[in-house]
Symmetry: C2
Subunit: 296 residues, 2 copies
């Protein structure tokens, strides 16, 4: 398969769906809806929603069963970036080469746009039209998983520990907590949700979970490495910014060589866990490679 | 009935349930869970969860069917206060006589504690134990309603328009938009959810909706009036602070006398809409009076 063609197709489907489901800027309050859309349509790679769709495909499902959940994952991911960029948090002025939400609008609007994106994600997960043909118990389980992975014991928890660790000596267990929670939890939810909504068996769910845990951590290690060796123009943010902030990273704790080795091992584990799916998991295989083997 | 006894009992039940459902400060990250609990247990009047319970009682339901949803409403209300108090928003240092969340902790923690409370509310609405015996389609409808009322076309929308209106000439339709969205939407959801989870009929739902819309707006007008004539020590915040900020209020637009008249009319409408419930709606009746006839 050609991953670029696959990604391009999926991105177009996701963007069209996000455009349909996000309130238009013509609806009051226009500026709020504009701010929500500004960050959702800021050139994101749509990794999480694509993982949801690819996980569905691996178990024989189709995009129509999971597109709403895929879009909800992207809304949650986007809200987390908007709040993360705020002056009180990472205080970033640019993301992917464009002004961050609070720079383009203002701080209050960015806070509220993030709040509204998170809320809209859960509304969409409950949307009766989007859930047609889905067992209501599955709808509930999906939303519960996403909330758990996004909340204080998931993504938000990871952000807090990451923040608390800035400029402090951090050991390996804390570094792993940060990575598995701050980015890993949402990647895990994205994959699991795709499986559940397409009727995955317990065996299939176990395999998808192993895949997501390994690929998610590899992704984060690759991100740490990229911060040390990346090209600023491709990255769209400052190289070495993690280091400047005193953020703990894999290379800082294990060195660059050992970090790369760890990422490769996790990648191999992710691939191995997909065996039972055969060719249907080719998109997930290509995505795992893509997640650790990237420039930005 | 004795409203004070009723309120005291309900507050105890709600507080015990919130304590059970909120992650303990012993769970990592402790400081985040501490910050969430700090604002949830800050002496709130629990109006929204009590409305949920009272609406359930009006249609012959009981607290066990709605306690989780009642607590979710309180978590959402609390998150909105935490974010509202932030320096970029209302920049308040005190709430109910205690330092606001970002003053007691820090700004980043307050943003994330708010995010986590909102997320936890939806997790709780999906919690399988809390939803035992409830038709899954009802669970989904309840969460969809809450998300709609809390999001960009509900509460968050109201906050944005309120913020945009500060220091500007505002006409009556805008003032009504702010009131019906910023506070009205969540009060409406609290009442509707109590009815639905306890199996209300269409007629009962229509009556509850009329009640909530009238009582909710009366509550907000009373709040505006209180800001002009209230006693600072009972209020726990600065009297005249709306005026100082150039916020639009009912008294500013209609005068104090006409505002009081409007609140009384809405109160009468709220009471009238409860007729079909008989004595079972006594708590809702007392609450409507309580909502416009208060000192703080």
């Amino acid at each position: 398969m050609d991953l670029n063609v696959y990604l391009q197709e999926r991105i177009e489907q996701i963007d069209a769906a996000l455009d349909r489901w996000l309130p238009s800027a013509a609806i009051l309050p226009g500026r709020l809806h504009q701010a929500m859309r500004y960050s959702v349509f800021a050139g994101g790679k749509r990794l999480r929603p694509i993982l949801t769709i690819a996980a569905s495909e691996a178990v024989g499902g189709h995009i129509g069963q999971v597109l709403h959940a895929a879009c909800a994952m992207e809304m949650i991911h986007t809200y987390s970036l908007v709040h993360d960029d705020l002056p009180a948090m990472d205080d970033d002025n640019f993301r992917r080469g464009r002004p961050t939400n609070h720079r383009e609008f203002d701080e209050a609007t960015a806070i509220l746009a993030g709040d509204a994106l998170l809320t809209e994600a859960f509304r969409l997960l409950m949307d009766s039209e989007a859930n047609q043909g889905i067992d209501p118990l599955r709808t509930i389980r999906v939303a519960e998983t996403i909330a758990r992975c996004a909340g204080s014991r998931g993504m938000v928890g990871g952000q807090v520990v990451d923040m608390e660790s800035e400029g402090r000596e951090v050991d390996f267990p804390i570094l792993e907590y940060i990575h598995t929670h701050k980015t890993g939890a949402l990647i895990l939810a994205s994959v699991q949700v795709g499986g559940w909504l397409s009727g995955a068996s317990d065996d299939q769910m176990n395999a998808l979970t192993r895949y997501a845990e390994s690929a998610g951590l590899a992704f984060q290690i690759a991100d740490d490495i990229l911060d040390v060796v990346g090209d600023q123009s491709e990255l769209g943010k400052d190289v070495g910014s993690d280091q400047a902030r005193g953020k703990v990273t894999y290379p800082a704790l294990l060195g660059l060589k050992e970090s790369r080795k760890r990422a490769d091992e996790l990648h191999a584990r992710a691939i191995a866990s997909l065996e039972l799916f055969g060719e249907a998991a080719d998109p997930l295989r290509e995505l795992a490679r893509h997640m650790i083997d990237r420039n930005s």
